[in-house]
């Protein structure tokens, strides 16, 4: 047993040198290819957005009049209002998502909740409903003469078309991010940790507040950041609801400069950079919160059996879960279904106006609905695998404190920043960057005008999700585990593959499901960069709406939601089988 392997990474001295080299080469290679992939997927498109922001004529290949428009844009009153509204909306949705998601997650993770896996599944559904579809569903339900008024005589139009209304609709879409991250974190922390505090005299609430919640901080902060980023980059909901009462955010400002005559690409790029700056600030805040203390809790086998019984509280808790599920999932789905079943919108919810005509038209595939579904599912799967793998690679290099006692690997900060950039960029801006980059005449070959450009767009837009999930998972892995593997003779690669990867695999898988779902229904970027002649689910539904076939669009939306929910069901039930003891 000679050589440095036995000595352990903490040892210093001349005998370490060869081992360092052998152990350092692989990570170096891995880091190199990770950076290369990030440069292609993220850095280059964003570089072109930055170029566009500086050089207004870059689209025509000219560097004339740099920054000619900077002062006008930044000094305009719109810019200040939109920035303020963006921050208010982001903060509002984060707070509301925590208020809904954390208590539910604590109940789910720390008590013996009846039908726990079913609730997990139900809370996936808000995520499966494309936000612009859900928003339309809410409008059809709550506006005067909407479904609610047709059924009960009550209309909540003024409440919906207001700031709290936007926050509520977006929270119902976003809170599952907090719910899943928090319940995973609480499960990993387990009841045993708080049991220890209860031995020392803390009550259950105090134990949760003082022990479990602080230990879950990295995961909570990461999910908060995701919700903030999702909110400030979301287009559909603020565009549709905000337009009704003059509430403009940066994303709607970007879309306006990209759609209204005269098209203003430089302004759109500048506003995007402002949005990215907001998101990076949030990212810095999240890092500060997450790394303030050591939250390593996965010290070996997770304490699965240590959940508490609910005793007499079972019924109220179930009512709470059912109520949240109904409002976040049931109502929008019913509104979508009602529209899909309606022959005409003006006919309302009367028996002779309802029928399966729209579904029959969709399944007859005369307008290409089925091929759009196929295209989107294929693209979603490819994007999920690529984003998952790349996300794992990024998290591995940036988050693993591993054997070097807290020092971060060189290049980690760069990788981290690159993987975060798309978080704040609305899809339409990523699309713009991709066109500017990949449509350069000098390129010998290009993915532009092929399906690959959509994969690039989806991976770029969604990469922060697997990165955040996996980084949080890595941060919960006790470094002693990897050290133990190394002491027992595993090389760094082997230790990573056999010890770290299995421990973070559930998080990576969850993130990949998320990427699949969001990619499969993405609209805003798809509409701009979809190769000619290709329809995705999002662009297909949009086209139906545009032609006034609201019912057919909603029928496809409903089928897509059902199908994207089935994929996680299959995967979750497979995971459940794996988790079964014995």
């Amino acid at each position: 047993m000679t050589g440095p392997r036995m000595t352990g990474p903490r040892m210093t001295g001349p005998r370490m040198t060869t081992g360092r080299l052998a152990g350092g080469l692989l990570p170096l290679l891995g880091r190199g290819s990770t950076i290369a992939a990030l440069v292609v997927v993220v850095a280059l498109p964003f570089a072109f957005i930055a170029l566009q922001a500086v050089f207004p004529e870059i689209g025509a290949g000219s560097f004339a009049r740099p920054l000619a428009h900077l002062a006008t844009v930044l000094r305009s009153e719109d810019f200040a209002t939109q920035t303020r509204n963006t921050l208010a909306l982001g903060a509002g949705v984060v707070v509301a998502s925590f208020a809904v998601g954390v208590p539910l997650a604590a109940l789910r993770a720390l008590t013996r909740l009846p039908g726990a896996l079913i609730w997990d599944l139900v809370f996936l559904v808000p995520f499966m409903i494309p936000p612009y579809i859900a928003t339309l569903g809410w409008i059809m339900t709550l506006q005067p003469a909407g479904y609610l008024q047709q059924l009960t005589g009550v209309s909540l139009g003024p409440q919906l078309f207001s700031f709290p209304g936007i926050v509520a609709v977006m929270t119902l879409h976003c809170f599952p991010v907090v719910y899943f991250a928090a319940s995973r974190a609480f499960t990993a922390i387990g009841a045993r940790t708080s049991d220890a505090s209860r031995v020392f005299g803390a009550g259950p609430l105090r134990a949760f507040w003082r022990v479990t919640l602080p230990l879950a901080t990295p995961a909570l902060a990461a999910s908060g950041l995701l919700v903030f980023a999702m909110t400030i980059e979301e287009y559909g909901t603020p565009a549709v609801l905000g337009a009704r009462f003059g509430f403009d955010v940066l994303v709607t400002g970007i879309d306006t400069s990209l759609s209204d005559w005269p098209i203003d690409l430089p302004k759109a790029a500048l506003l995007s950079i402002a949005l990215i700056a907001l998101s990076l600030a949030a990212f810095a805040l999240q890092r500060w919160v997450a790394t303030r203390r050591d939250a390593g809790v996965v010290g070996g086998k997770a304490a699965r059996a240590a959940t508490r019984p609910l005793c007499g509280w079972a019924l109220p808790v179930l009512v709470l879960f059912a109520a949240v599920a109904f409002v976040s999932t049931g109502l929008p789905l019913l509104a979508i279904l009602a529209t899909a079943l309606s022959r005409t919108i003006s006919g309302g919810l009367t028996p002779d106006n309802l029928g399966l005509g729209n579904f029959r038209a969709v399944l007859a595939d005369s307008s290409g609905a089925l091929s759009a579904l196929g295209t989107s599912f294929g693209l979603g799967l490819i994007s999920a695998v690529m984003a998952g793998v790349l996300g794992l690679a990024v998290a591995f290099t940036t988050a693993r404190r591993g054997s070097r006692g807290g020092r971060r690997a060189p290049g980690a900060a760069l990788i981290d920043a690159l993987s975060m950039l798309p978080n704040a960029a609305p899809g339409v801006v990523v699309a713009l960057g991709l066109i500017l980059l990949w449509n350069q005449p000098a390129l010998p070959a290009t993915p532009y005008n092929t399906l690959a450009i959509l994969v690039l767009a989806y991976v770029c837009i969604l990469l922060p999700q697997p990165v955040r999930y996996t980084v949080a998972a890595f941060q919960q892995v006790d470094p002693a585990l990897e050290a133990a593997a190394r002491v027992h003779g595993a090389g760094p690669a082997r230790a990573a593959w056999r010890v770290l990867v299995p421990l973070v695999a559930p998080s990576v898988l969850a993130a990949m499901l998320l990427v699949f779902t969001v990619a499969a229904r993405e609209l805003v970027a798809s509409l701009l960069v979809a190769p000619v002649g290709v329809d995705t689910i999002g662009t297909y539904i949009w086209r139906q709406f545009d032609q006034g076939s609201m019912g057919e669009g909603m029928a496809v939306a409903f089928l897509a939601i059902v199908a994207t929910t089935l994929v996680p069901i299959v995967i979750l039930s497979a995971m459940r089988r794996l988790e079964m003891p014995g």
Binding site: A239, W261, T344, S346, S367, T450, G533, F545, Q547, G548
Partner: protein, 320 residues
């Protein structure tokens, strides 16, 4: 890690290669603003007749323009169809268009064609009114400022819709400047582009659209929706949809053939089928045509030159 990165690279390459293989087939590329059904019908008819394949990109006028602008250094489109005549004027000024006059354009009236653009079809703005809304049937723009329609009217945003801008400019120029202030006092909702304005009217949340794009509402009515299209007594504006060949095209002959097809009997019949007015006066329409509509006098070029001022006045009238 290395294996993972290799996997990324191979997946990306495979996806790119397979996709590249599918994209190389078509012969010309057409970018068009809606309606999608019409675009598809035109492309199918054209390919059947000429054997020339067409790559179709269909979106809103705004998205089509954004894509064209981003692609400026390496234009992909051969033919562009927009829903706003302003596009044709502006592109011609920038020297982006190839002059072409189709032999089939002989029966297209002069004001619907230039050296570099010709209308595919024409729409007009109207009042779209829901007869089940419990309001009296409006007959003119000014009716919608009356108390019956309090909080019951929507209007496309002239800043976002080219045709709504022309309507505002035309009403301004015809002595109706005061109308927008009255509409604002009556609680008119100015929201979004054309599409967004119609749905609240269909469900009954609102009673009427001030300045609806007529063919969309006519198609909705044909599907059984409760909506009437009313052309106001004092007149309205029309929105011709220009069709242009980009100068950068490398398939000029095929692109010209496409324009010819859209202006052929079959092409114009397809245009008429979606309730647009055909550009050619000798092809029958399924709806009132320009000669039957009363038009407001409008100097389009002059209005465009004063665009910022007109929009500013409008915003002020709307209390912004």
């Amino acid at each position: 890690m290395k294996r993972l990165s290799l996997l990324i690279a191979t997946t990306a390459l495979t996806a790119a290669a397979s996709a590249a293989a599918t994209a190389a087939r078509a012969d010309i590329t057409v970018y068009t603003a809606g309606p999608g059904g019409l675009a598809k019908a035109l492309v199918q008819g054209f390919t059947k007749e000429s054997g020339i394949k067409v790559n179709l990109y269909q979106a809103t006028t705004g998205k089509v323009m954004a894509r064209l602008k981003a692609e400026q250094s390496n234009p992909q489109a051969d033919v562009v169809i927009s829903a706003s005549w302003g596009t044709a004027t502006s592109f011609a000024k920038q020297g982006l268009l190839m002059p072409y006059t189709s032999p089939n354009a002989a029966k297209v009236p002069d004001f619907l064609k230039t050296d570099t653009a010709v209308a595919e079809g024409v729409s007009a703005l109207a009042i779209a009114w829901n007869p089940k809304s419990g309001t009296p049937r409006p007959t003119d723009w000014s009716d919608l400022a009356k108390p019956y329609y309090k909080d019951k009217v929507t209007m496309p945003d002239p800043a976002q819709s080219g045709s709504a801008f022309e309507l505002v400019a035309a009403l301004d120029g015809n002595g109706q400047q005061g109308l927008f202030g009255k509409l604002h006092g009556n609680g008119v909702l100015v929201a979004g582009a054309n599409k967004a304005a119609l749905n609240p009217v269909l469900q009954g949340a609102k009673a009427a659209v001030f300045g609806a794009v007529d063919y969309i509402s006519m198609a909705a009515k044909a599907k059984g929706e409760s909506v009437d299209v009313i052309f106001p007594e004092s007149g309205t504006v029309v929105a011709p949809r220009p069709m242009m060949i980009l100068k950068s095209t490398t398939h000029a002959d095929e692109a010209k053939k496409f324009v010819d097809y859209v202006l052929s009997d079959a092409g114009q019949a397809a245009v008429a089928k979606v309730y647009l007015m055909p550009a050619r006066t000798d092809v029958p329409a399924k709806r009132p045509t320009i000669s039957e509509l009363k038009l407001l006098k409008l100097d389009s070029e002059g209005a465009q030159a004063k665009r910022a001022a007109i929009l500013g006045d409008f915003a002020k009238a709307m209390g912004k």
